[in-house]
């Protein structure tokens, strides 16, 4: 700084050059606050005095005009840093208020979605239960079976909703540390299919020849795959298969899940991973599944994204970094 100002000494009056030291003080005041700004302005004042004010190369001052100039210089530095500090404080308060407002809005959205999603299965279960209990209804064997089936299915739906909410709150609170271990990708796929229950029969699986290994939290990756598969199944007609294909690229193990549902607009490819987004027009489900899937994927160093499928439907791709060597254990 001093060197640069020294170069200008011949073209500008010496006192005017003092102003240039503010170029050092201002950014410090804006970025680091009053303490550092004061230190820098005093250092600047000393350097200016030493190099530019007569007598040169001493800290002594002969001209009273220079005293005044220096005082003005320090005061300016202090005032600027104070102003910057206040502005920063105001900006911080505004950001905090904004965060609060947004988390409030999110909570309202959660409560809204959840109360709706809780109520509909509860209504169905209650109606079915009361139907079975009632003595005045003429129920045939198949009617009773249908009511019992309703209770079973709606209970399963409630279980999934609660599991999703628990997952989401753990993710948001950072209370779901990934316990990463070495797993063959086969195991992750089979656990996800197992979690889907009867619907898993609609998934056509192609495993990689090698059963590649990944280092992940199996329970969390099970949720990732199960949630993506559930989404794919929901948007496909029961006669269309959902395809799951495992492949390796060397660096990554890819699991690609493709459905033949309505597909995705380019602009919603990212949006569907936001909580409470109902991607493809359907209002079924909580809109939590994909948000949780991405949260868990990222917590495990994996990536999850959506691609529009060229023909119809959508593809979801999970990329897991492949773990290097296969372990062997000699007995």
């Amino acid at each position: 700084m001093t060197g640069a100002i020294f170069g200008l000494k011949t073209v500008a009056p010496v006192l005017g050059l003092a102003i240039l030291y503010l170029l050092a003080v201002l950014p410090v005041a804006v970025l680091y606050g009053l303490g550092y700004a004061l230190a820098v302005s005093i250092a600047s004042m000393l350097a200016f005095n030493f190099f530019f004010l007569p007598p040169l190369h001493t800290l002594a001052l002969t001209d009273s005009e220079n005293w005044v100039a220096l005082a003005v210089f320090v005061v300016t530095a202090v005032v600027v840093s104070e102003l910057a500090t206040r502005a920063r404080r105001r900006a911080f308060a505004a950001a905090e208020a904004d965060t609060l407002r947004r988390s409030d809005a999110a909570k309202t959205a959660v409560l809204h979605a959840v109360s709706h999603d809780l109520r509909s299965p509860l209504t169905a279960i209650r109606a079915a239960g009361e139907g079975l209990e009632s003595g005045s209804l003429q129920l045939g064997e198949s009617d009773r079976a249908a009511l019992l089936e309703t209770i079973r299915l709606e209970t399963a739906r409630l279980e999934r909703l609660v599991a999703n909410l628990v997952d989401l709150s753990r993710l948001e609170a950072g209370a779901a540390p990934a316990q990463r271990e070495l797993w063959p990708v086969d195991e992750l796929v089979s656990r996800a299919l197992d979690a889907l229950g009867a619907d898993a029969a609609r998934v056509a699986v192609t495993l990689d020849g090698e059963a590649p290994l990944v280092r992940v939290d199996a329970a969390q990756l099970e949720r990732v795959l199960a949630n993506v598969l559930e989404n794919a199944l929901r948007f496909s007609s029961p006669s269309d298969p959902v395809e799951l294909v495992v492949s390796s690229t060397g660096d990554d193990v890819l699991v690609r899940i493709t459905d033949h549902g309505p597909g995705l607009e380019t602009e919603s490819l990212e949006r569907i991973f936001e909580p409470f987004e109902h991607g493809r027009g359907g209002a079924e489900g909580t809109g939590l599944g994909l948000a949780i899937a991405r949260g868990f994927a990222e917590a495990n160093g994996c990536r999850l994204w959506a691609e529009p499928h060229p023909a119809s439907g959508a593809s979801f791709v999970l990329a897991m970094p492949s773990a290097a060597a296969r372990p062997t254990l000699v007995r």
Binding site: D186, V205, A211, R331
Partner: protein
């Protein structure tokens, strides 16, 4: 033959009632308790043939009950755990529980586990084990699936043997590792994951949907007969 006595311990009256009804319907005699203290008192008064134990009790953890019970009773303990709490489940197994089901559980699953626990015989000592389509000749080290010979490595064979001799029972990771690879190996469960996936590729008709070699997340593995009457 007299009915087997099952002690059910849970502090939720509705769960207690549902279990009691289902177990009686399945031909068991049932005692119930809703606290740790009552559970231990009941077990001391009328020794049960099996215990179904919730891990969360008002006056303490089910893990404590499990440990106490183990010090003077051989009755198998089936633990009811909450989804997602792997650490608790593992602690219960360490404290002497024999198996677990996760809440909310299916009653068929619970009854199947209970039956497996009540088959009190220790590991099978038959020279030839038949589980569904899988036939294991322990003397000749031969395995066939649906009559077709399957070639296994020595490690894969040993792993299959341990699981098959304990058909239907939960085998924890440390228990399998120690039995197959020796006492030095108790914590290397990732090796196990790899060997299990290799075994599945050789034995299972559809390795992505295993019917014989089932994973118990966080706890261990179980070899079941997929065509067994439930």
């Amino acid at each position: 033959m007299s009915k087997a006595l099952v002690l059910v311990v849970d502090d939720e009256p509705q769960i207690l009632r549902a279990l009691q009804t289902n177990l009686r319907g399945a031909g068991y005699e049932v005692e119930t308790a809703s606290t740790a203290e009552a559970a231990l008192a009941s077990a001391a008064m009328r020794p049960p043939d099996a215990v179904i134990l919730d891990l969360v009790l008002p006056d303490g953890s089910g893990i404590g009950v499990c440990r106490e019970l183990r010090s003077w009773s051989d009755a198998p303990v089936l633990v009811l755990s909450v989804v997602g709490d792997e650490a608790e489940k593992v602690a219960a197994l360490d404290a002497g529980a024999d198996d677990y089901v996760q809440k909310p559980f299916g009653i068929d699953e619970l009854l199947a586990r209970l039956r497996a626990l009540l088959r009190r015989a220790g590991p099978s000592t038959e020279p030839v084990l038949e589980i569904g389509e899988v036939v294991i000749d322990l003397e000749k080290h031969l395995v066939t699936v649906g009559g077709r010979h399957v070639s296994l490595t020595p490690n894969e064979f040993e792993l299959l043997r341990v699981l098959a001799q304990n058909e239907g029972k939960l085998m924890t990771h440390p228990a399998i590792l120690r039995e197959v690879w020796g006492p030095a190996y108790g914590a290397e469960s990732h090796y196990l994951h790899v060997y299990i996936s290799q075994l599945r590729r050789k034995l299972e008709p559809d390795p992505a949907r295993p019917r014989y070699l089932l994973t118990e997340p966080g706890a261990g593995y179980r070899l079941v007969n997929p065509v067994a009457p439930s």
